[in-house]
């Protein structure tokens, strides 16, 4: 069946609301407006105001309320419209959701799911184009996942809701309009393992979320010149699946890490450090990364695109690492 990523997430939300009365969706404009990205469109009519709950612009309070509701026996899905606005509720996420279980000596778990769109590329300029997954992936007590395929967009939410701890689900805004064949046979059973999206022997391209598409295109591009790239989709950003990453690098002996975060302190850096720690002797060449230039995202398309990871830059980096520079 051909559907968009938006429809896949909507179907996941509908299923979650149908199968468990404790589940509800809360956030800015998720109801009457239909969701800032139209993801929850139609759900209000189907499930009503209580379970499709529009909130005031009070990120800290409604995210904290989601945490409290989870403690109170509900299974809240809290939508923080975009990761950009999550800067207003980080205290609740880091100091309450992530710490409560530990501070209470294991007495309280916080089964809340926080959904946020992330990423740039739509000319929304400096305040609306952040990719801060790496920040969240730094915090013990949180799980962080990012769907990159239609099947994960459809299936990850359910597994996240079954998780007894707080889960942050990052949806790249560039994915929603993409359409594809949903493979009904694929059921997402777990969210902690990375996936090999393209097997290859010459170099590992490691990425996640909205940039998987670019990595796969880059791999095809490289194939034209006989370079066989393996593409890894991390899926889980915390915890990271070292096993799958190292297995790939041990095979290809080379890696390029792709991540839409700013270069310094990017998630790519963490992947690279882990490879240096765990697979150093298997490497035949320096590690390389393709991240976002260290500039607040500019509005004009030509500058924004110049700042972001591109298929061409991934290909060039891969060729460089492979010593295949023209």
């Amino acid at each position: 069946m051909k559907i968009t990523y938006r429809e896949a997430m909507r179907a996941a939300l509908r299923e979650a609301l149908q199968r468990d009365e404790r589940v509800f969706l809360m956030g800015e404009d998720v109801g009457r407006y239909g969701g800032c990205y139209a993801v929850s469109k139609g759900l209000l009519d189907e499930f009503g105001e209580e379970r499709i709950r529009d909130t005031p612009l009070s990120e800290s309070a409604f995210v904290g309320a989601g945490i409290g509701a989870a403690l109170g026996g509900m299974r809240p899905i809290v939508e923080v419209m975009t990761v950009n606005f999550s800067l207003l509720c980080l205290d609740q996420i880091v100091n309450t959701a992530a710490t409560l279980r530990h501070m209470s000596g294991g007495q309280f778990s916080v089964p809340v799911v926080l959904r946020m769109t992330t990423g740039a590329g739509r000319q929304l300029a400096a305040q609306h184009s952040h990719s801060l997954e790496c920040w969240y992936a730094h915090v013990p007590g949180l799980r962080v996942i990012a769907p990159a395929t239609l099947e994960d967009m459809r299936g990850m939410l359910r597994v996240a809701l079954d998780d007894p701890d707080p889960v942050i689900l990052f949806e790249h805004n560039a994915l929603y309009n993409r359409e594809g064949e949903l493979n009904e046979d694929v059921t997402v059973a777990e969210i902690r393992r990375a996936a090999v999206r393209r097997a290859g022997s010459d170099i590992s391209l490691i990425t996640y979320g909205g940039n998987l598409v670019k990595a796969l295109e880059a791999a095809e591009e490289l194939a034209k010149s006989g370079l066989d790239a393996e593409v890894i989709d991390l899926r889980s950003l915390r915890p990271l699946d070292d096993e799958t990453i190292m297995a790939s690098v041990r095979k290809t002996r080379r890696a390029v890490l792709i991540d839409e975060g700013w270069n310094s302190g990017s998630l790519a850096a963490e992947i690279g450090m882990r490879i240096s720690e765990q697979a150093f002797y298997d490497l035949d060449a320096p590690l390389a990364r393709v991240c976002t230039a260290e500039v607040p995202i500019p509005y004009p398309s030509h500058l924004e695109q110049a700042a972001l990871p591109q298929v061409a830059t991934i290909v060039a980096k891969a060729r460089e690492v492979l010593g295949k520079n023209v």
């Binding site: 800015e28 404009d29 109801g31 009457r32 407006y33 239909g34 800032c36 139209a38 529009d54 909130t55 005031p56 612009l57 009070s58 990120e59 800290s60 309070a61 950009n84 606005f85 207003l88 739509r122 000319q123 929304l124 300029a125 400096a126 305040q127 609306h128 230039a293 260290e294 500039v295 607040p296 500019p298 509005y299 004009p300 398309s301 030509h302 500058l303 110049a306 700042a307």
Partner: protein, 327 residues
Amino acid sequence: MNDKPSQISREQGLQWLQDMLRIRRMEETCAELYGEEKIRGFLHLYIGEEAVAAGVIPELAAEDAVVATYREHGHALMRGISMNSILAEMYGKQEGCSGGRGGSMHLFDATTRFYGGNAIVSGGLPLAIGLALADKMQNRQRVTACFFGEGAVAEGEFHESLNLAALWKLPVLFVCENNLYAMGTALARSESVTDIHRKAESYGIDSSAVDGMDVMSVNTAARDALAKIRTQKMPVFLEMRTYRFRAHSMFDPELYREKAEVEQWKQLCPIATLSARLKAQQMIEDRDVAAIEAATSQEVEAAVAFAEAGQWEPVEDLMKYVYTESP
């Protein structure tokens, strides 16, 4: 709400008509340009709310400051930023008032002390507090006018900022543009008490509600407020009751409000009502309006031409403007 002022001069009347029409026509053209993909990203139109910016901003002194939101085209224009540089900015051209880096949501101008252009709801309020604090600490008589929507009232920063302004007696004019909706969320769904100016009172801030569809009422309220701020050295809060005629942004299907409600409010169009009143009072004639329309469409055309002719910043300059000195 404070009652309508009685009389104004023909000059004043024509000025307001012209101001509001310039905003209206410019933005109507922006909407078209968005359709043509000349303007990208988010575009938030002020159409219907022109009386607020037109009634308040001309009352500010040159040395005063303005802090606004992503719905700030009208404010920028009223503050004296040229239509050319505003349109060029929306195109993302170098000649734009922010050098093309900001776009529609981030209009800036140092010469008129226009501090943006903030796309984080309520994000501008603390900035206004700081600008006013700097003026107070340096014993300058300047005022900072801070515009924001009623949706911002739910944010913690609104509360923190109003308290600081009152506690520290800062020269801030808070202008809440209450257009009844925050994206698709009606005020009644976001505030337990919808009478917003009452909230300002709970901080001891002089506050009132104003008919934001009537430029004369807005202007009178603004003038009184500014006088109070300058003499009593205290902030003042104005709740402007207005309405957005267009969608929240160009992506908005407007599922959350009735066409009828929109039509009703359109009857209160600040431009139509003012020109009708001026005509009824025999102050102006059709040809006066026609003259303004003509001049305005010329200005808009010229601005579009200017933006079209503008240059793209060379991609080599990508890393500019991150630090004042390169690290």
